[in-house]
């Protein structure tokens, strides 16, 4: 399970170009990591690609923090 968390964090670090230390589980993509709305769409698409799952729009809207993403993927991922 921690593997999923690591992979999620890696995507966030690479995509947003932020320091690893900032990417805590409670970090908000927009408020803490400087993402804009396009970034959040790109992140969701990157998660879908990495974990082979589909994240519907209504679920994507609720993914606001690193932890939200990890929890959703843990619950829905086939990987």
């Amino acid at each position: 399970m921690s593997d999923i968390a690591e992979r999620v964090k890696k995507i966030v670090i690479e995509h947003l170009g932020v320091e690893e230390a900032k990417v805590t589980e409670n970090a908000s993509f927009i408020d803490d990591l400087g993402a804009d709305s396009l970034d959040t769409v790109e992140l969701v698409m990157a998660f879908e690609e990495e974990f082979g799952c589909e994240i519907p729009d209504d679920a994507a809207e609720k993914i606001l923090t690193v932890k939200d993403a990890i929890d959703f993927i843990k619950a829905n991922s086939a990987a």
Binding site: D36, L38, E42, M45
Partner: protein
């Protein structure tokens, strides 16, 4: 100026008069070009004429699966798509009162919906690379209207609105989305018009002549270039002064 060396362009409708001219012009500026269309022989002849850096990627854009597959085949051929020229288009003219649903739908599907699907598919890579150019070939009639072309005019006006929305969405990623709106250009599409109508149309062009496909291609090259990076959400009218908007 306008050097496109190292860029990869996909041109739909490349077997048509305007599409072929666009492909030639982008290629002449150094770009790799993927030529799409339904007339495979014409595409292969054009690729042979261009030589290196030209690839044939046929697709029937009235077919959803083929449209989705086109970006994949263009990326397989060129590595990526930096410049997408949504040029493919067709007409099914008729007065609205007599226009069949199929004729409305086919024109909207090919001229507008396929362009949206292709744009959506290339945006992913463009966003990642932080560079992209999407250029829609619309038409003067999308702005002025034209009797007998309710479907075509709607598709071309739709392309302008879509381009503005996309432009606003992706401008922060160094991706521009623009349209070129040809006026009356000498191509197979306008050849079929009766001489009387052609005469009338030419008389309405202050430049006093029909446009040449090269006139359109030059506008596309500009919008595809590095130098046009601050131009987005615009429609460049190339029509000899026929409509000044």
């Amino acid at each position: 100026m306008f050097d496109l060396t190292g860029r990869s362009a996909l041109v739909t409708g490349a077997s048509g008069g305007i599409g072929a001219a666009i492909a030639r012009a982008l290629h002449a500026q150094g770009a790799k070009v993927a030529l799409s269309g339904t007339k495979v022989e014409a595409l292969e002849a054009l690729a042979a004429e261009l030589g290196d850096r030209a690839f044939v990627t046929p697709a029937n854009l009235s077919d959803t699966a083929a449209t989705e597959g086109l970006i994949k085949s263009a990326e397989a051929a060129m590595g990526q798509v930096d410049i997408l020229v949504n040029n493919a288009g067709l007409t099914r003219d008729g007065l609205a009162m007599r226009m069949k649903d199929e004729d409305w739908q086919l024109v909207l599907d090919v001229n507008l919906t396929a362009g949206f699907r292709l744009s959506r598919a290339v945006l992913r890579g463009m966003m990642k690379r932080r560079w992209g150019r999407i250029i829609g070939i619309t038409s003067i009639v999308g702005v002025t209207g034209n009797p007998g072309q309710a479907n075509y005019a709607a598709s071309k006006a739709g392309m302008i609105g879509m381009s503005k929305a996309l432009a606003a969405e992706v401008a922060s990623r160094n991706i521009t989305v623009n349209c070129v709106a040809p006026g009356f250009i000498a191509t197979a599409m306008t050849d079929v018009l009766p001489d009387e109508q052609k005469g009338k149309l030419t008389a309405a062009v202050p430049a006093g002549r029909l446009g040449d496909p090269k006139d359109i291609a030059a506008g596309v090259v500009y919008l595809a270039s590095e130098q046009a990076g601050y131009v987005t959400g615009q429609t460049l009218h190339i029509n000899g002064g026929m409509a000044m908007i």
